[in-house]
Symmetry: D2
Subunit: 162 residues, 4 copies
């Protein structure tokens, strides 16, 4: 059974995140993982482009009802018509999640993942505080290569859990 | 862009439906369509087995939260955690729907498809009446081969609609 | 704990259904039930108007994201942004369902209700056939008064089920 | 038309949050708002108890399929069967959101609210950072009274937006 790694990230990210997302997609595909994402632009396009360039498979869970709104690097493009509700589906469909960059949609996927017990890995993304003190709720990777490794390891542990 | 054909059908169908569903899957795959279904047993297993035997791709939108509950003939298995709510997703993700046999889940997918304007093709499935009079709400195929043809034609017309 | 009765019905029904839906709403409210519906026009407006005229409470699960799209007879109007996906919510939120008239949305709610084991009562609504033979999947009421009685009885049995 | 204020908060919060949530519920009810929440324990019970004590109405969007799982202070209790997916519904059904305390479910509702353009008010809840710098994405109230006022003001501005 394949490993499914969710990748959360904004449609209009900082330019510096694009090559990181593309490398992340390549690493995940080289390890045989299926990349699941929101199927849109920005980080989502970059991670899918990277994954497909390495021969990998990509799944896009689109917010709207029109398949044509998906990016061109999706092996499977699924309109959901759920708007931001598809963020819940992304978390449910993944064995681990990598959150890339800022954006509130990405933050919602981090939070839903943590709430549902999904392993979450951060890459240049949100930090959290409570009462002014930092809360380290999930590991932060220093590179897309490390993010891929951490996510794959966590996903395999998660799947093998009795 | 690939054509996505949804197939609705029960997990415990009449035995006679199994070879029909398998042939349907084969025909759809031979035409290059991606088969989308609920990912479970019965009709869902048979249509996926048929599609994969012909080299096709299959997507399962699972009702529960566990990927392992999907049948073994899924190219992509997506737990949704939505229960019967995933029936809505099946309809949204498809360019046309073939309904195979009875079962109330199948009836819900027929009805949601008709409500959302999706082309629906019946194969040994429910008929409808209002005030005791038959209502022909969707075409009935006489064979899985014909169901595949009708669904593919309707899907292509639907996709090309401006 | 109150009893919640779902009422399914079209936004543009036959004119003859309007007084039936209004009477149904009145009967349900007189028995102390909360009426749950899609919150729109037609049957939904009529059943809510009848319920509120008798001092009852009404809940509308709106398909869109705008509360103002609800009809004026809702005690509680909840935008869901789920489109036809809110039909699943209507079924989940009800202890029994009365289906009034035709319409494919109504048929989807009948089917989802039957699939999930919810008691369903029909009133001038769809009939079903399989292989050309009628299937009596749910009781048909001859009047809104009888529909209300059957739904309330079934809901109470359903709630008290261990 | 009534104002609907969503309240997000954990089922097992710090004890200090309970009286704050109860006061928040009372203030919202005194202003005529309908309180919408997840319908569970902890913060959710406290805010509903406060609101009902002041004669207000409360709506619970329950994660499971069983109405009996709701707390005893709900005017309307709606099972959704969506699990954490009901967090999306809470945001869609609210004109403004008050987030009380920590918890990842609460964080997901903050994030979904910000993503969908809903006014969000914090009360002893999460802070956010990006690249180590604090991000003030939403106003923080210093008391439940202030949280109520800020939420009501923001909700009215939001509703009156053309």
């Amino acid at each position: 059974m394949s490993v499914y790694i969710g990748v959360a990230g904004a449609s209009e990210p900082d330019a510096s995140l694009i090559p990181m997302a593309e490398t992340l997609g390549r690493c995940l595909a080289e390890a045989g993982a299926i990349v699941v994402c929101g199927g849109g632009l920005g980080v989502m396009t970059a991670v899918c482009r990277g994954a497909q360039a390495a021969g990998g498979r990509t799944v896009g869970l689109l917010p709207g009802g029109d398949r044509a709104s998906g990016n061109p690097y999706l092996s499977v493009a699924l309109p959901t018509g759920l708007g931001e509700g598809r963020n819940v589906l992304l978390v449910r469909a993944s064995d681990a999640l990598v959150a890339v960059g800022g954006g509130f949609g990405t933050l919602s996927e981090i939070a839903l993942g943590l709430r549902m017990g999904l392993p979450v890995i951060g890459l240049a993304t949100w930090g959290l505080t409570l009462s002014g003190e930092p809360v380290e709720a999930f590991p932060i990777a220093q590179s897309p290569e490390q993010a891929s490794r951490l996510a794959l390891d966590a996903a395999k542990r998660s799947i093998n859990r009795p």
